[in-house]
């Protein structure tokens, strides 16, 4: 076997494994004084990594390890997107990691986060169900550790328990589905399996079971019950990671597998997605209306956003893939901006995350209030911001394939979502409050990440070269 192919095509994962091991070793030898520089070093290294891998090196699709690992340019684009999201989360996490009880665990946060990133990278470029499963678990087991990171807090431990048990259950169901796929087709390679799929009842059943596993990661509606509790209990930096990066990877992997492996039963999974999209968007929106805690609120908002992301999957075309990746990119900028504000307000005000605590935020912290407003406008899809364009493209992709009623329902839900996003804007700008959050100055790296997100919200939609650039890579998926 030619080992040079591994280094040629698997460069992202190998570089990430190197970074993770280096971080682990640095954590061992650094000591109290070394840990002070840990944040700067990790952000710098990750920035270098992104700079080196942001554009895919190769323009062709290649298989290594006998087809277990498939390199494609578009998966390279998604990987660099995930890495950018991780960098933004790292930037926002500094203040929280600097607290007295988490300071000693600082290194663990970086190592665990990077391990989940490696898992996602393997998951999205898998060509075999075993590789896919290992990647999925590598992404979700360290994630459970991250959710339970604040181990002396009841909420974090409870969220961790809920997350890991639901994750185990979902992955058990998914494996059960995969076992029947193996039994009926005799192979686990994506490429070979397509030929064996004939739409028998057992295979439809295994499609549904398989969908459970990724539906859980994406928190689509029948599998969403863990979402709100875990998002509320987990540390805010982890919540933002969970809501953006992990969702992006799962959405891409789901689309690749549905298109590649389940191509012969396309009408079945489209029907399945049809129901799931309507349920996710509607139920996510309706539950978001009644939330008083901002983290829970963002959880339900992210459930309904996951429903919108699935509109790109249901179209099943290369254009749908482009819109999906663009949607995820814009969603990442907007959601990380919102979580960045929530995080910095929580850290600087002694843990305030209720919606009432945001009353009068504009009076005391006008810049944060404006950033939050723009992020929420983008999430709701108000025209000059990127969220409008991403929603428009993803609706167009689904509309093109004849899902007219579905797009109409999604549009109605956009209006509902506008109402609850504006509730927060109203709280910040109009509601009176005798004791608003005191004026504070966020730490430097949070400000950098908020500025980057803000630039993303404004520029991503207006600079058409970004959408076209993604579109260049989605040929043939």
């Amino acid at each position: 076997m030619d080992y040079s192919a591994i280094f040629t095509y698997m460069y992202t994962e190998i570089a990430l494994i190197g970074v993770t091991v280096a971080a682990l070793l640095y954590d061992l030898i650094a000591g109290r004084r070394g840990r002070k520089y840990f944040h700067g070093i990790m952000c710098g290294v990750l920035l270098l990594f992104i700079g080196a891998t942001v554009f895919p090196y190769h323009k062709e699709t290649a298989e290594i390890f006998g087809g277990m690992y498939i390199y494609s340019p578009i998966s390279g684009v998604v990987k660099s997107l995930l890495a950018i999201g991780t960098l933004l989360v790292f930037l926002q996490a500094d203040k929280w990691l600097g607290q007295k009880d988490t300071e000693i665990k600082r290194g663990e946060f970086y190592v665990l986060t990077l391990s989940t990133l490696i898992g996602m990278d393997f998951m999205i470029s898998a060509g075999h169900f075993m590789m896919f499963f290992i990647g999925l678990e590598l992404a979700s087991v360290p994630m459970a550790c991250l959710v339970a990171f604040d181990k002396y807090k009841h909420n974090s431990a409870e969220a961790g328990a809920k997350f890991i048990l639901s994750a185990l259950f979902a992955s058990g169901l998914m494996l059960y589905g995969i076992s029947f796929l193996y039994g009926t087709t005799g192979t686990l390679y994506f490429d070979d399996m397509t030929a064996g799929i004939d739409g028998s009842a057992l295979q439809i059943l295994s499609l549904v079971f398989f969908f459970t596993g990724l539906g859980f990661k994406l928190s689509l509606v029948p599998f969403h019950l863990w979402t709100a509790d875990t998002y509320e209990g987990a540390p805010t930096a982890v919540t933002s990671y969970l809501s953006v990066v992990s969702k992006a990877a799962a959405a891409f992997a789901l689309m690749v597998i549905l298109i590649k492996v389940f191509a012969p039963v396309v009408e079945y999974w489209q029907a399945l997605l049809y129901i799931v999209i309507i349920l996710s968007i509607t139920i996510g929106n309706l539950f978001a209306l009644r939330q008083k805690n901002l983290k829970r609120f963002m959880a339900f908002s992210s459930i309904s956003q996951a429903g919108y992301i699935m509109l790109g999957v249901i179209s099943g075309t290369p254009y749908g893939m482009t819109t999906l990746i663009f949607y995820v990119l814009v969603y990442m900028a907007a959601n990380l901006a919102a979580f960045g504000v929530i995080n910095t307000v929580e850290q600087n005000s002694g843990g305030k995350v209720g919606m009432d605590d945001y009353n009068g935020l504009y009076k005391t912290n006008p810049k944060l209030a404006v950033i939050m407003t723009l992020a929420l406008f983008s999430l709701a899809g108000i025209p000059p911001f990127a969220g409008f364009f991403s929603k428009f493209f993803i609706f167009a992709a689904a509309f093109e394939q004849g899902f007219h009623v579905l797009v109409f329902i999604a549009l109605i839900n956009t209006v509902i979502s506008l109402y609850y996003y504006l509730l927060i804007v109203k709280a910040m700008f109009i509601n009176r409050n005798d004791a608003p959050v005191a004026t504070f100055r966020s730490d430097g790296s949070t400000r950098i990440s908020l500025l980057l997100c803000l630039a993303g919200i404004i520029i991503l939609g207006l600079a058409s070269c970004i959408f076209d650039g993604i579109n260049l890579y989605t040929f043939g998926i």
Binding site: I134, K151, A161, F169, G172
Partner: protein, 102 residues
Amino acid sequence: MVQMEYYLIVSTIMMFVGIYGFLTRRNLLAMLISVELILNSVDINFVVFNRFLFPGQLEGFFFSLFAIGISAAETAVAIAIIINIYRNMRNIQVKNLNKLKW
């Protein structure tokens, strides 16, 4: 030789006993054991399909080996989290995990 169907009956029963247990048990460790039943039923499925339907290859065996390894890792993390809950609350009943709801 025992026919394939008998193995599949056993694995299906294990699967649904696991689901039933996961939904009805009120102790975190019992829930974990139920999930382990599900994962083990999957391993049986893979091995049986490989042994009876595709005896020329090893994919199913390998998958079940990896699945066993990964489920061990997951269980380790789950037990660590459960121990942490025990330290915080002095018991591991599900009814005490009620601070986060609605």
